[in-house]
């Protein structure tokens, strides 16, 4: 229920924001009957209406089910005391952060350097066990990535800058 409220509000805010942007765009001399902003405005108005409808719908349903939800929350609160460890519960968050750091470092350190670090961290995080095993699998899988995607398929991955760029030339 709360998620639906949040989704409705985000939809309304985002649609309204982009509608303002769309209306502020000067319509260029288009050769078509409908200009470049005509279609996006139609879609954004549609999304705005859907956001409002979802808000109303959720509110109406919420009024009917208040008691039921209260009971649900109480019972789920008991279940909330899970046996999950903190890092398991937040794994998705760590994965997202690690990918974000990876993407930030990719143009600087290059594909060859950052990819094994990401693989190692993720394998450890997902519970592979002994570090030696994690390291061995990381090395083997990265050799496969390099051979398959760089040497065989010729995908031009970022080489990094400075010394990292020079280092990458030793491999591809």
């Amino acid at each position: 229920m709360r998620a639906n409220y949040l989704l409705a509000i985000i939809t309304i805010v985002v649609s309204a924001f982009f509608l303002v942007v769309a209306f502020q765009m000067p319509e260029t001399n288009s050769t078509t009957t409908i200009g470049p902003m005509g279609w996006p405005i139609m879609i954004l108005l549609f999304s705005l209406v859907m956001g409002v409808l979802l808000l109303l719908n959720t509110w109406l349903k919420g009024r009917k089910k208040t008691e039921l939800i209260y009971n649900d929350i109480q019972s789920s609160d008991k279940n909330e005391v899970t046996k999950e460890k903190f890092h398991v519960k937040n794994r998705h968050f760590y994965i997202l952060v690690s990918i974000a750091i990876y993407v930030l470092l990719l143009p600087i350190l290059g594909f060859i350097i950052v990819t094994p670090f990401l693989f190692f961290f993720l394998a450890w995080l997902l519970g592979m066990g002994r570090l030696l095993k994690v390291a061995a699998i990381t090395i083997v899988s990265n050799i496969v990535f390099v051979v398959l995607f760089i040497h065989l398929l010729g995908i031009p991955f970022p080489r990094g800058i400075g010394i990292f760029r020079s280092l990458s030339f030793l491999i591809y």
């Binding site: 009957t33 996006p40 879609i43 999304s47 994965i95 990719l106 693989f119 997902l126 398959l148 398929l153």
Partner: protein
């Protein structure tokens, strides 16, 4: 057509293509059987590999993986009550109870036979329907394409699984994402905020990979995936005359139903399997036995999902509109290889299209040959932990995203859509509706504006042309019928 079929056979029987077909089959079997890797994800993962191959090899690889993974989802559904792919959800209902009765071999045999037969029937329809539909679509002009896109968008009703407003929000998001970048008709920048990378627009592949693959890894990262149960030694019997006599009508009916549902843009094989299961139960004399482990309960969803998967290829190849999430990825692969699926593909690239047909036919026949050895091998592969699979999937996703346009920015897009997908998935939001919007948005917009240009702004062009009028009428019906049904249900409640 015969010439095309012979060309397809000739192409497929080149040693490299046969090798790719067999390899792709094994990959598809493996991915489909392992819970946590869907067919869509497998095709996404193998997308970068396809860049390095010639067009025919690339599409043998991708379409074979697609067909093989739809089949093998039944293995873990029957043996472990864990469907390997979403398409095998309905197979659990009777497959697992049959295993519990001590007949896992019989359950697998029924599944293999039904899948292969359903797949072959589906492919035959694909071979005969696609050229007819494509030649019919050659008469289409902008109003008809717009109407077709709108008809495709109305599938949101069935994709939304009961929450129509959420579905419409998803479609709206997808349609909006498709407008970002340079307007194809006037060259005006839209919603780029001066960002150079956004001028080229947001590509479909990072959105797909983020929404489906990354969000799935995030979700699975919090679960335990090792199947604890020891895999027992199973003796699979595919051809049992008594069983075949009992299920042959169910297989045929379900395959026809599967392909009819699969052809509808956006519906896909999962819906085909579910509907086919419930229809088989509705028309059966033993309807009370459904769910207790009867052969018909396995045959119906398995024949339907394999036929439906082939059906989903019809609108993709004939009209350039994907029939499911996986075919949307295959559509992306066509674009990456500089091809545009649609009526002209049959005319311009008959060799490629017929090779795809023949390889799909070959895979569905070879299922009977290779399923047994694979099931024996599968017991060993089941021990690969998710701690090794998860990181590999993420790296494959990153590589696949980057390789589309050699753009680091696209990896950011993938990550953002991964986050969006993860949180939306948690609230059971129909993610496929976003893809529907992204895929159909550009077609709908361009054709809408072109049509209005043709009619000098007169909107009646969409209703006065017969094909366009009929398609829009169907779209209206597809929208109204579920709405009326919901109102009826609401009044009854």
């Amino acid at each position: 057509m015969l010439e095309g079929i012979l060309m397809g056979i000739d192409n497929l029987f080149e040693p490299l293509h046969i090798l790719i077909l067999l390899l792709a089959m094994m990959i598809g079997f493996l991915g489909g059987a392992l819970p946590g890797i869907s067919g869509t994800m497998l095709v996404i993962i193998l997308l970068p590999v396809s860049y390095g191959l010639d067009t025919i090899s690339a599409f043998i690889l991708l379409t074979t993986i697609y067909a093989a993974s739809v089949f093998s989802g039944l293995i873990s559904a029957i043996l472990f009550r864990t469907p390997g792919t979403p398409e095998a959800v309905a197979t659990v209902f009777d497959g697992y109870p049959m295993t519990e009765k001590g007949k896992p071999g019989q359950a697998l045999g029924i599944g293999i036979l039904s899948s292969a037969t359903g797949g072959v029937i589906g492919t035959l329809f694909l071979i005969f329907l696609t050229p007819i539909l494509a030649s019919f679509a050659l008469n289409f002009s902008s109003p008809e394409y717009f109407a077709l896109a709108i008809l495709g968008l109305t599938v949101v009703a069935s994709l939304s699984s009961g929450n129509l407003i959420q579905g419409f929000i998803g479609v709206g998001l997808g349609l909006f994402v498709a407008t970002i970048g340079m307007d194809p008709l006037s060259g005006t920048e839209r919603f780029t905020f001066g960002t150079l990378e956004l001028i080229g627009g947001i590509d479909l592949i990072p959105v797909l990979i983020g929404l489906f693959a990354i969000s799935e890894v995030l979700r699975k990262s919090k679960q335990d995936h090792t199947i604890e149960k020891e895999m027992q030694k199973v003796k699979t019997k595919v051809f049992d005359s008594g069983i075949i006599n009992r299920i042959k009508n169910t297989i045929f009916r379900s395959a026809i139903l599967g392909i009819s549902i699969g052809i509808l843009p956006g519906v896909g094989a999962t819906t085909a399997a579910m509907i086919s299961y419930s229809e088989a139960a509705r028309w059966s004399k033993n309807k009370d036995e459904f769910g207790t482990g009867i052969p018909e309960g396995i045959a119906a969803p398995e024949a339907a999902n394999n036929a439906g998967a082939m059906g989903a290829m019809v609108p993709l190849l004939a009209l350039g509109i994907p029939g499911s999430a996986t075919t949307a990825v295959i559509l992306g692969a066509f674009v990456l290889h500089g091809l545009q699926p649609g009526p002209m593909l049959m005319t311009d690239e008959p060799g490629l299209v017929y090779t795809i047909f023949i390889s799909l036919l070959a895979v569905n026949i070879l299922i009977i040959v290779f399923a047994n050895p694979f099931i024996r091998m599968f017991s060993k592969i089941m021990k690969v932990p998710y701690s090794a699979l998860g990181p590999a999937i993420i790296i494959f996703c990153i590589i696949g995203t980057f390789a589309v346009r050699n753009s680091v920015f696209d990896i950011w897009v993938m990550l953002i859509f991964g986050i969006i997908g993860y949180y939306l998935d948690r609230m059971k939001f129909p993610l496929a509706t976003i893809i529907l919007g992204v895929v159909l948005g550009p077609i709908a917009e361009e054709e809408f504006r072109r049509a209005l240009q043709m009619s000098q702004g007169d909107i009646s062009i969409f209703f006065t042309r017969p094909i366009s009028g009929v398609l829009l009428g169907l779209a209206l019906l597809a929208f109204i019928i579920p709405l009326v049904n919901r109102i009826k249900k609401y009044k009854k409640a």
